[in-house]
């Protein structure tokens, strides 16, 4: 179903202002052909504006957008060869499912005889064979969103743009649709840009993720990359809870920084670009990387015991497959996440020893 080679998307120095405020404030993004790319950010960060600029719904104040190498910055939406899927599905309620899917074929002047088979194939792709004669209102939310997908891909667009497509679905259905979307994108190999505020959605679907804040891209990278090596405190915190220490860079050598953590000890972490001895530093650690063991059990498990700290469990949240602990030590709180013990979660008040592997620490920009 895919037209020739998939096209990439190139956005450079993109700016869009509404009144005095810049919703998109100089974005540079390069999406590779065939890639599943996600723009992730809190509401109001400008991610939807970015998508609308790419779609041609909005015109940029400055900057350039190229799809498949062709500059489309000023091209109208109907000339951009994109597929659009919205949170509210945006199916044409007065048309049947088949008419919805055929709409783009008619608009693109595909010969009448070809339309029927192509509609059938598109509906089969989203597992909705035989639903052609129904009205959208007769379908469930998940089915409606699949029709919207079929309608978008049937015209073989260069670029598929998804605007929070799963947000209106309930949790269970959302997970099903997520894996279906991933399958579909892999099979068709169509370059896809997803906009979402849902970290799980972004991580489970994307080859690469761009994290946005206040109109700017804070970091771009593969999910593991940005999760384990967040560029700054915002990215670190947005992608999940972190334990945070401040400190000072002692020396930098061969890309590794030696940082003195305030009130603790020195640790060796990958250096931030441009950091030098004497700089203030912030170091983060994910809760699932913080190992804890009841203080009586010796020796501490496999971790290098070098950084072992003693604390006391302050709060316990059992999630079923995991347990979240809040641990009090020296007047501050640390977060740890662990598999439950066979005997259940550790009780509040239990003294624990905390340790971690320095390789799991990440230095972040403020």
């Amino acid at each position: 179903m895919v037209a020739t080679a998939p096209a990439g998307l190139e956005a450079s120095s993109l700016v869009k202002r509404f009144g005095g405020t810049a919703a998109v404030d100089g974005i540079d993004v390069s999406v590779r052909p065939g890639e599943f790319f996600t723009v992730l950010g809190p509401s109001g960060c400008g991610k939807t504006t970015f998508l609308r600029l790419v779609a041609g719904i909005l015109t940029p104040d400055s900057g350039r957008i190229a799809i498949g190498g062709a500059d489309v910055s000023q091209a109208p939406i109907w000339a951009r060869r994109i597929g659009l899927v919205f949170q509210n599905y945006a199916l044409f309620p007065h048309m049947t499912v088949a008419q919805n899917v055929a709409f783009g074929l008619a608009m693109r002047r595909v010969p009448r005889a070809e339309r029927g088979p192509r509609v059938e194939r598109a509906l089969a792709t989203v597992r909705l064979e035989g639903y052609g004669r129904r009205k959208p209102s007769e379908l469930s939310g998940g089915q409606q969103q699949r029709v919207a997908l079929a309608r978008a891909i049937v015209v073989e667009p260069d670029l598929l743009l998804l605007d929070e497509p799963l947000s209106n679905l309930d949790a269970r259905l959302r997970e099903d649709m997520r894996s279906e979307l991933a399958d579909l994108q892999h099979r068709l190999g169509i370059t896809t840009v997803l906009v979402t505020h849902d970290i799980h959605e972004a991580f489970s679907l994307s080859d690469r993720v761009a994290v946005m804040r206040a109109g700017r891209v804070e970091q771009v990278g593969a999910p593991t990359e940005i999760y384990d090596r967040p560029a700054n405190r915002f990215v670190a915190g947005f992608l999940g809870p972190v334990n945070e220490w401040t400190g000072q860079v002692q020396r930098v050598q061969g890309g590794v920084a030696e940082i003195m953590l305030d009130g603790l000890r020195t640790c060796r972490v990958a250096a931030l670009p441009g950091s030098a001895a004497g700089d203030a530093a912030t170091v983060v650690l994910r809760p699932e990387r913080l190992a804890l063991a009841p203080a009586l059990a010796t020796p501490a498990p496999t971790m290098s015991a070098a950084g072992a700290l003693a604390g006391r469990i302050d709060q316990v949240a059992h999630l079923g497959n995991l347990v979240n602990y809040r641990i009090a030590l020296d007047g501050r709180m640390l977060l740890a996440q662990a598999l439950p013990e066979r005997s259940g979660a550790l009780a509040v008040g239990t003294p624990v020893r905390l340790s971690w592997d320095d390789a799991d620490l990440a230095a972040v920009a403020p």
């Binding site: 109907w78 945006a90 044409f92 608009m107 693109r108």
Partner: protein, 258 residues
């Protein structure tokens, strides 16, 4: 409190409805005078009415004027509403105020103004001038009705259509318009109703050649009085009630009175 309210409501209904019922009732009188028939009924005044050519001509004129002005106002109203809703031009509140200004300007003032204006441009008593005036009078109703219809429809549908290769005019024609058909019909009927019953402005503008039905009645009554008036009034009431029922079914009455 509630009882008092019910009482006043009833009083209002009686006050508004009773005269209308009386007129309809009187239209069936066999006698020469305005009176409420008790024992015998007759259709003679309807016969009288239909044999009076001037009334038939006026009815046709009102019908034509109503249909045409409603058609034009609905088309213009859609364009105005579409521009206001989708374009969100700066100062759209002011524009909306302008579009609905004819509701606020007293009809007498507008009538005199139009009389002088049409005189000035040499169109006094001409049908196009009358039509233009009616379009202006009914336009607010079209704009309001269609504004509500369009606001209920998010822009995503048009975006989806345009992303599939439809130019804006095709998106509007194939998606937006069919989806506010109900609003279009409401607007049309509304405008027709207003135009059909408009007296004040028309009185100033009509001239002898173009007496609409309400104007004809007005002139007739200032001359003499007989139950023909009751018959013609009954017919107008019938048409109006029918239209209002249809409009109510379409849910359009709520949109204009906000």
């Amino acid at each position: 409190m509630k009882r008092t309210l019910t009482f006043f409501n009833l009083l209002m209904i009686v006050y508004v409805v009773a005269p209308i019922i009386l007129v309809v009732w009187m239209s069936f009188t066999p006698s020469m005078r305005f009176e409420v028939p008790i024992a015998s009924f007759s259709l003679r005044w309807y016969q009288e009415l239909f044999s009076y050519d001037a009334f038939i001509d006026s009815a046709w004129l009102s019908l034509r004027l109503g249909l045409l002005s409603a058609l034009i106002a609905t088309a213009l109203g859609f364009l105005a509403a579409y521009g206001l809703v989708r374009g969100r031009p700066p100062g759209s509140a002011v524009l909306l105020g302008l579009f609905t200004a004819p509701l606020i300007v007293p009809a007498v003032v507008y009538g005199i103004a139009m009389l002088q204006f049409t005189n000035l441009v040499g169109l006094y008593g001409a049908f196009p001038a009358l039509l233009a005036a009616h379009v202006v009078i009914v336009l607010p109703f079209a704009v309001r009705t269609l504004l509500a219809a369009l606001e209920g429809q998010g822009p995503e549908l048009e975006w989806a259509a345009m992303s599939l290769g439809a130019r804006r005019r095709h998106a509007v024609l194939l998606v937006t318009l069919p989806l506010c058909l109900r609003g279009m019909v409401s607007a049309f009927l509304f405008c027709f109703l207003i135009s059909f019953s408009e007296v004040t402005v028309t009185l100033f503008m009509a001239g002898p050649a173009h007496q609409t039905l309400p104007v004809r009645i007005f002139n007739y009554v200032s001359d003499r009085i007989d139950p023909t008036m009751a018959a013609v009034s009954a017919l107008i009431v019938l048409v109006s009630v029918a239209l209002v029922l249809v409009l109510n079914r379409l849910g359009a009455l709520g949109t204009v009175r906000k």
